[in-house]
Symmetry: C2
Subunit: 421 residues, 2 copies
């Protein structure tokens, strides 16, 4: 078997960069044998000399700056581990214009800059590889790109953020409140000191943008995705949901219906019988519906040095084997995306009410008057009403809620949670 050689530059040697280096070092022979490519790390960009030493990397490999890497003919593939938009974007565009392929785990940068990277890749001839940007080591990008060719993808539903899934699982299992579970998550390293990107749903939104654009072959920009995090989740609703047969998850959802895309990230109830309900702790999963394959689900670890490194190395090896890299030129090749923000869903609604008699009927009446059909109504306590609606448009249910809140017996709507079947 002819062995192809490929030189790799690693930008950043943090958790994932270091894990990637170790895999490439330890598995170099195996990859040569299995895949016919000899992957060699020829350059690293890392300012922390201790880190370089700690990983046992020869100091001679350390580049003075990005230009040294761009101009190094031995570098075929640039793998980036910085995170954040800059300098990652600038460095990777330079690399692409110089004809190199890029491999990234950087969901924020990739979701925001994909189109520009695509143009640079077209010019330079290299490829864009981003498996590690979504669902860790679980090969969802490769699956959508190279296994779903017979499908129009109809919808995606994902638990794509380990921090929030860990917190929600803990709230559910232990009946503990959000603040307590967040603290515990931070202690164990499942949440950052500043957890905003995760708990406010930004991370999940970046991933939704990437996965949905790929799945529907239309650009689904970050700013067209409705985003709601988990900071206001009340453990009371998790408990009531359980009684109703639901599990609460932070879901990244997108659907293509009648030529329109809806894309959103928000806490959502799933029926206990839904495969996604079983995804616990820091595990992730993506549930895809295609018009040929029907339901498929991919499950595994969404983060971590080795799982993410597994995805990065997979892309490096795959890129090294390609004679022609894929183009994802949604602006030119695809149809322009039309979006709908008026989602349809079933809703769980919790109202704080005065313990007047008749409030239940009055609220139910307000729902009905506004064409919101009710599935169940529960008086959870003297001052708590829970409604589960049938499928209804967001605009319609918001109007009905608005009217209900005007009723004298109603204090306020305390929770509005979408239900995904």
């Amino acid at each position: 078997m002819q062995i192809k050689k490929a030189g790799v530059a690693l930008l950043g040697l943090g958790v994932v960069g270091g894990g990637t280096y170790q895999i490439l070092r330890d598995k170099r022979e195996m990859i040569m044998r299995n895949d016919g490519v000899d992957i060699q790390v020829v350059s690293v960009l890392e300012r922390n000399a201790d880190r370089v030493r700690e990983l046992g990397i020869d100091g001679a490999l350390v580049a003075g700056g990005i230009d040294e890497i761009i101009n190094n003919p031995k570098v075929d593939i640039v793998a980036e581990f910085f995170g954040g938009v800059e300098p990652a974007k600038t460095f990777l565009i330079k690399a692409l214009l110089a004809g190199k392929s890029i491999v990234t785990a950087n969901k924020e940068m990739f979701s925001k800059c994909w189109s520009e990277l695509e143009q640079a890749a077209k010019q330079g001839g290299g490829g864009l590889y981003f498996e590690a940007s979504c669902v860790g080591g679980v090969p969802v990008i490769r699956a959508i790109t190279d296994s779903m060719q017979a499908n129009r993808v109809l919808s995606l539903k994902g638990i794509v953020n380990g921090t929030t899934n860990y917190i929600l699982t803990k709230m559910s299992d232990e009946g503990a409140d959000y603040a307590t579970c967040l603290k515990e998550a931070q202690k164990l390293g499942y949440a950052e000191a500043d957890p905003t990107a995760d708990v406010e749903g930004y991370d999940a939104t970046y991933k939704n943008s990437i996965l949905s654009s790929l799945a529907y072959r239309r650009r689904v920009p970050v700013d067209r995705i409705y985003r709601e995090g988990i900071k206001d989740v009340d453990v009371k609703d998790i408990a009531y949901g359980k009684e109703l047969g639901y599990t609460l998850k932070l879901l990244a959802v997108s659907k293509l219906r009648d030529g329109k895309i809806e894309a959103r990230v928000h806490p959502a109830f799933l029926p206990d019988s839904h495969p996604l309900s079983f995804v616990k702790g820091s595990f992730n999963a993506l549930f895809l519906q295609g018009d040929s394959v029907d339901d498929v689900m991919f499950y595994g670890r969404g983060a971590g040095a080795l799982p993410t490194g597994s995805a990065i190395v997979s892309d490096i090896v795959f890129a090294a084997r390609q004679c022609e890299h894929r183009r994802f030129d949604f602006e030119t090749d695809g149809e322009p995306a039309e979006f709908t923000e008026d989602f349809s869903s079933e809703y769980y609604l919790r109202f704080d009410v005065k313990s007047d008699c008749g409030t239940l009927e009055k609220v139910a009446g307000a729902m009905r008057k506004n064409n919101v059909s009710l599935k169940s109504v529960l008086q959870k306590s003297e001052d708590t009403l829970v409604f589960v609606t049938h499928e209804v448009k967001e605009s319609v249910v918001r109007k009905a809620i608005g009217e209900a809140e005007q009723l004298s017996g109603v204090d306020r709507v305390a929770a509005i949670i979408r239900i995904e079947e």
Copy 2:
């Protein structure tokens, strides 16, 4: 974008062949746009003229015999839907020697003849594609081949047969016996009139052979795989298992430990919390452990015209895009496989006993004497004892069971079911 052209011949137009034809016809433009390949069905081998007409296929495409297809320069890829070893094997070897690539769903043929097909492919230059042979439309073959490059695969666990999973799910949900559930499965089309291949575990064994050979890069022949079907499953054990927190599945398992492979297909208990426990009805799933990626699971429909057609078309498009097809020459490139038949497992044992006092202690004593450590012991009724052992070798537990059966108070061992954690 340069459009590649590829001509496809379909051997057989049954359920999956017909589904494949329909996908290729309906999605031809979409595939051209998304993947840059124009896939055209240029020849079909099907004796049933009504079927050809029913699918709306131009009679001019019908080949007189396999040689017409082999000699047709317009045919680049041959997709086979016959099932069974012959004539599929002979036809596909001819196609490969003529330089064509092959795409198959035929698990029996592929598991038994892979090595010979490989030699023919090497000679002719074409590729072997077999995604549809395992887990229907769920892209497990592509995942193991093109996404696990950073991994030594440590183990596989799969629910890979829809018929048996449908039956076991029904037995569990309804408390009905095997014969009743088999009949129902046949009525609904989940089981064949002659269900042997499915219920005796042959189908799962073929798939285990293919997946394990690919995963460990060592030939795992069908005849080195321990096989036990579901015909003797007693609904009583499903119920006792439930009480103990277990779900019963027909599992295809393989592990690579200390350089030795164990591979087996048999009914097995899984803890209720294991992701595979949630795979119900005719759904399938493959659970893989890799030394970088850790746990990943792939889930979806294991059979059906469109799901399987989705896998076939995916392979056709993928094959058409490759400049160099993968070789799977385990005999030459890999290490020779060493097998172990002395599996290690936890065991569930049910004994029919006489209602003598002291039998429980005597049987427990026989276990202990033979180095079988017990996890739980339950007197389910006057004449039924259930034991759950800690992990122990097959040979050791068989010896202990043999001794226990000699005890005066013991009638016989009624069930021996392995437990997979």
